[in-house]
């Protein structure tokens, strides 16, 4: 009791003083979590079923009204496009007012009126709102469906569809939906020129008569208006709206893929591959693990701090952006992890995406990650409350999705309560690694042969081919249209060879932990010992020193910005070519990044081992063992001839394998260097590079 009393006293004292003392050497702690004051909208219902929600907000003298008809989705089938056409012919006047007069009046009043397939929208200054609202209502209840207007809009829609046919992005979006939900599900079907041609004015009228009904309709009014005023307006304009019952349509079942597979669609003009790992899910706001699912997705692929962004963009440079999304819906929704990458790294990016999904399923996220994700989510939610329509949207969701009335008031609490274990459970439930579709829209000849070779978790990833309509097709014979004659079809991309190599020397994590390398090699020219000392750092500083016994032959130093060469006693700065070359070196292990130019040219036998030949640039070719993945040789073209460097005797230092024998051959000369010592993160300091 006593303690409690004291703490209340302390609390009072804390909030009292005006001259707050602060210690600016310490970051201030957040205050108590903000209270969410959510207004409850006033509601009323018309006899015809229309339910009205009113949120008074008198801060600005304006009002907006949104009508939503919450019908169960139904498939449009061979007349896909009917709803789109309906929305487009709406607002082109009413039975009594022609199109121009209708629009001019709204413009004059500075208002806005729109229609869509499931509702309408109106907004205006308070003083003009009644008139603008009336125009919206008249447009909705007494539309003028003329053949001319219908024909014009149909032409426009067909033109739009044609314009997007060459867009890989548009194709990817509808293919992803079609393959996730199935072509016959309303969420999976899409309109084509053919289906739009099948739509007639009668279909639009029949959609209007069947589905635009007050039965499942909600009208949300937000702004500088009173409940009484809304009641009068709504009664005046919407009482006459006649209730009909929309036809009941059952929805096809939606299933996940039986096994994880690649679904490939060829877009011959694509310079990038759009990859999406998708699976349908059943997630509602009422699901017990709803918040855990949101957080799991946030950690995996939410924004620029998500793992996908960090891994695929920041670490690997495959893409400008990579993220994932998870949606909730009354009927069915989906999980999707997506990225757009250049052709050469398509196969590697698929593996990277799957690896991240696997990782978040198999290993618990850290508490730090969880905290960050929660903070971001909570921040976004809180900042979203600034929108005056947020309260109305929440109220509408509570109505239409059967949520408890305090759902949004407790939103932050729910977010905060999510645990590491729940995140993992949600990841395992909603990110379906074994039943995923990897939908790829890209350049067939350039990427499909590599995809055919992909394995994940020791299993081959089967590739199924589809056309842009979402129909399964036979595997196309891409060989005939092979674009590069110098690329032997070895079935692997440079990116994957690099990936294998990094895996072979110890894996990415171990490799990333190397921030400097110290290596000392000794070789013999005739009887004389030659020492080669190399120091290198991750931020691209390097030192190479060659000594004959005690005599310094050559020293090359580069500090990341400038470099010099010392031969004997003479010292000179780098030439611009040398500087350029030095600056291009980006990492201790160049294989961490796949350059645009890198190509697998085929296989060759190197010292008895079969090796992939990777042409990195005109000057440089690397060879990697097909079996072990290790780098066997580098070939450098110089104006004086080829220089060959062979790597053998790999040994592990600090979890990373290094070649302990490096032989350099140039012209007739060949020296075998044996490592005396290789140290990781030791014996290197900034002073070495001065």
């Amino acid at each position: 009791m006593k303690i409690k009393f004291i703490s209340i006293l302390v609390l009072c004292l804390l909030t009292m003083p005006l001259q707050a003392q602060v210690d600016r050497s310490k970051m201030p702690m957040p205050g108590e979590a903000p209270q969410i004051h959510l207004g409850v909208p006033a509601t009323f219902k018309l006899d015809n079923g229309l339910k009205v929600l009113v949120v008074e907000n008198h801060e600005r003298s304006k009002v907006m009204a949104k009508l939503i008809i919450d019908n169960k989705p139904y498939p449009e089938g061979y007349k896909a496009g009917t709803k789109a056409l309906y929305a487009w012919v709406m607002g082109t006047g009413t039975q009594k007012i022609d199109k121009d007069a209708f629009n001019e009046r709204i413009d004059f009043l500075g208002g806005q009126v729109n229609y869509n397939a499931e509702g309408a929208y109106a907004s205006a200054l308070t003083k003009y709102f009644p008139e603008v609202f009336g125009l919206m209502a008249k447009g909705l209840l007494h539309p003028k469906f003329t053949q001319t207007e219908f024909y014009d809009q149909k032409k426009r829609l067909i033109r739009n569809i044609k314009a997007t046919q060459t867009s890989a992005k548009a194709v990817a979006e509808h293919i992803q939906a079609a393959l996730t939900y199935g072509k016959h599900h309303p969420y999976g079907e899409f309109k084509t020129v053919e289906t739009v041609k099948n739509v007639h004015l009668a279909d639009v009228k029949s959609y209007y008569n069947n589905f635009i009904t007050p039965k499942n309709a909600y009208l949300v009014v937000v702004g500088d208006i009173t409940l009484l005023e809304v009641k009068n307006l709504v009664k005046k304009y919407f009482s006459e709206w006649i209730k009909t019952v929309p036809p009941i349509v059952s929805l096809p079942q939606v299933h996940s893929a039986q096994y994880t597979q690649i679904n490939f669609v060829n877009m011959p003009n694509a310079v990038q591959s759009i990859i999406a790992v998708v699976n349908p899910i059943h997630l509602q706001k009422t699901s017990s693990d709803y918040f855990a699912a949101l957080i799991a997705n946030q950690i995996l692929g939410g924004g620029t701090s998500g793992r996908l962004f960090t891994k695929l963009r920041e670490d690997k440079g495959y893409t400008y952006s990579a993220h994932s999304s998870i949606t909730d819906d009354k009927y069915v929704s989906r999980f999707k992890a997506t990225t757009s990458v250049r052709n050469a790294v398509t196969d590697s990016a698929v593996i990277a995406l799957l690896n991240e999904i696997k990782h978040i399923r198999n290993k618990k996220v850290t508490t730090q990650e969880l905290q960050l994700a929660k903070a971001k989510y909570a921040g976004t939610f809180v900042r979203g409350l600034e929108s005056p329509s947020a309260v109305a949207d929440f109220a509408l969701n509570i109505e239409t999705e059967n949520l408890p009335p305090d759902f949004y008031r407790n939103y932050l609490k729910h977010i905060d309560a999510v645990t590491v274990a729940e995140v993992q459970q949600a990841a395992q439930k909603y990110f379906k690694l074994n039943h995923a579709r990897i939908v790829i829209v890209g350049n067939g000849p350039a990427v499909a042969p590599y995809l055919e070779q992909l394995t994940f978790n020791g299993k081959k990833l089967p590739v199924k081919y589809f056309n842009t309509k979402g129909e399964r097709i036979e595997k196309p014979a891409y060989a005939e249209v092979e674009i590069t004659s110098d690329t032997t079809n070895v079935g692997i991309s440079a990116g994957l060879v690099y990936h294998k190599y990094i895996g072979a020397i110890g894996g990415e994590e171990a490799v990333q932990n190397v921030s400097s390398i110290y290596a000392k090699y000794t070789g013999y020219i005739g009887p004389r010992a030659i020492t080669l000392l190399v120091k290198q750092t991750k931020d691209n500083k390097s030192l190479k020193k060659i000594e004959f016994g005690d005599i310094l032959i050559q020293k090359i130093v580069f500090d990341g910005e400038n470099g010099h060469v010392k031969i004997g006693e003479t010292k000179r700065a780098f030439t611009s070519d040398e500087l350029e070359a030095a600056k291009q070196q980006t990492d201790l292990f160049p294989e961490l990044e796949v350059p645009e130019t890198a190509k697998v040219a085929g296989t060759e036998m190197i010292n008895g081992q079969k090796a992939y030949v990777v042409i990195v640039s005109k000057k440089k070719t690397n060879y990697y063992s097909v079996d072990s993945g290790l780098k066997l040789r580098t070939l450098i073209q110089t104006p004086k001839g080829a220089k060959v460097i062979n790597y053998t005797k790999y040994k592990t230092v600090n979890g990373v394998k290094f070649p302990f024998e490096v032989s350099k051959a140039f012209g007739t000369q060949s020296i075998v260097f044996k490592a005396q010592e290789i140290l990781v993160n030791q014996n290197v300091s900034t002073a070495d590079f001065k």
């Binding site: 001259q19 003392q21 602060v22 957040p30 929108s387």
Partner: protein
């Protein structure tokens, strides 16, 4: 007791609402820092912004781009905030942070859940008191700013036009507005570390800044924290202001500029107008709306709808502290010669100079302006920015933010006609062909 308090509060709130006003309190700290507080407890969000009265126009003549570059530097870290931690701290508290620089002022801000007000005040006070300005930061930001310039201007279709680069260079001969905000990388790269430090000491002083806190705050608490974090920052010398007046534009100026990122050229007509605080700014805002805003605007109707000679019309009205620029333009349909676009645009301007606009049109304009005002200042972020800008641009008269509609309503049809005659003269304008391609050499001579 509590109940009564609540009722009165609700009543006052409703009353303030009808008045359409952005309520605020303002005062000065002893070191000259001006503080503006706007309390709105509707949503638990707070925006904190600091606007420094320094921009590109305050740069040395051979240091274009300096002020904007400096803005980037000030995200580098402070005595107590490690380098690279700025954005991490903000996002791990559920907020976001950014900054921008114009010709006249530099603005830093963050938006956070309201329980992090103290954090934001700490960070902004650290930036004002303890920024780390070092060569490492300069080197890093040089790369970032180069990319920004590429993205916004060099690689962006119509970028050189949108950012005024191809306009200001012709309309200003003496005033620093002749250079762009982003400037040239050569100038910035030539700058020494000592220059950055001197710039900070001269301009980034509390007596040259305004701090705005907007949102879900307790004013007493906010004041106490502001005092605690900001009052120890020493004030600086009186900050000098740019005092350069331009002689009238000696034109007409005819010029050609090129943009490798575009396929369709633009015909551009540009005029010099007065600075933001001038009354005529309101008149020109109305003219700009009348000429190009929406499908029922004069230029759209004439050039796009009726004559079908233009694909689109555009308008760029930018008001700086000392001057403004008013730009209209049109993109030709197919092979329509650019000169026909000039003629068509001139016809609309002639109409504006010789006829009074109709009562109906006048009323529609007022409706549009009122609607626009009602739709501005929705978020705390926008409110904070606007309050700071009114304070800086209107010489401390922050309250003018609530007099805008009144100002529009006072403007007569006659005034609109007079303003058109005053500012839209052929002899004082730039007539520019903005063409696709790289153009070996840009030409500049008098209109024939």
């Amino acid at each position: 007791m509590t109940k009564i308090g609540l009722c009165i509060g609700a009543f006052l709130l409703a009353f303030a609402g009808f008045a359409q006003e952005i309520n605020f309190t303002e005062y000065n700290l002893n070191n000259g820092l001006h503080v503006i507080l706007h309390q709105d407890n509707d949503a638990p969000v707070v925006a904190v912004g600091v606007m420094y009265h320094v921009g590109a126009k305050d740069e040395a003549p051979d240091r274009s781009g300096f002020a904007h570059f400096f803005e980037h530097l000030l995200f580098g870290g402070t005595k107590y905030i490690d380098k690279g931690d700025w954005y991490k701290i903000i996002s791990s508290h559920g907020g976001f942070s950014n900054a921008n620089t114009t010709q006249d002022r530099t603005y830093y801000y963050e938006v956070l859940p309201a329980n992090n007000l103290k954090l934001a005040l700490w960070m902004e006070s650290e930036r004002m008191l303890h920024p780390v300005i070092d060569q490492g930061g300069v080197n890093t930001q040089a790369k970032v700013v180069k990319e920004e310039k590429r993205m916004r201007i060099d690689n962006a279709p119509y970028g050189r036009l949108r950012y005024g680069e191809v306009i200001n260079t012709y309309l200003f001969k003496n005033h620093p507005y002749k250079s762009t905000v982003i400037g040239t990388m050569e100038d910035v790269e030539a700058a020494k570390l000592s220059e950055f430090k001197a710039f900070f000491d001269k301009y980034y002083v509390p007596n040259n800044a305004v701090l705005v806190v907007a949102g879900d705050i307790d004013k007493q608490q906010a004041k106490a924290w502001i005092e605690a974090y900001f009052s120890e920052i020493p004030s600086g010398d009186t900050v000098p202001r740019v005092q350069v007046s331009e002689p009238p534009v000696n034109g007409p100026i005819k010029a050609t500029e090129y943009d490798p990122n575009i396929r369709i050229p633009v015909k551009v007509l540009a005029y010099r107008t007065p600075g933001r605080s001038a009354h005529d700014t309101y008149v020109l805002n109305m003219i700009s709306t009348l000429l190009t805003d929406g499908k029922s605007s004069w230029m759209h109707q004439a050039l796009v709808d009726k004559q079908e000679i233009a694909l689109a019309v555009l308008d760029l009205y930018r008001t700086y502290e000392d001057y403004g620029i008013y730009v209209i333009g049109a993109l030709p349909m197919n092979n329509v010669p650019l000169d026909s676009l000039t003629k068509a645009m001139d016809a609309q301007i002639h109409r504006l100079k010789t006829e009074l606009i109709s009562e109906q049109e006048y009323q529609k304009l007022l409706n549009t302006m009122e609607n626009r005002l009602a739709n501005s200042y929705i978020t705390q972020k926008n409110i904070a920015n606007a309050l700071a800008a009114f304070y800086i641009y209107y010489d401390g008269q922050t309250g003018l933010i609530n007099k805008q509609l009144e100002a529009y309503k006072k403007i007569t049809r006659q005034e609109i006609k007079e303003a058109a005659n005053k500012y839209f003269t052929k002899n004082e304008r730039l007539n520019l062909n903005y063409l696709p391609g790289s153009g070996a050499k840009n030409t500049k001579n008098k209109e024939s």
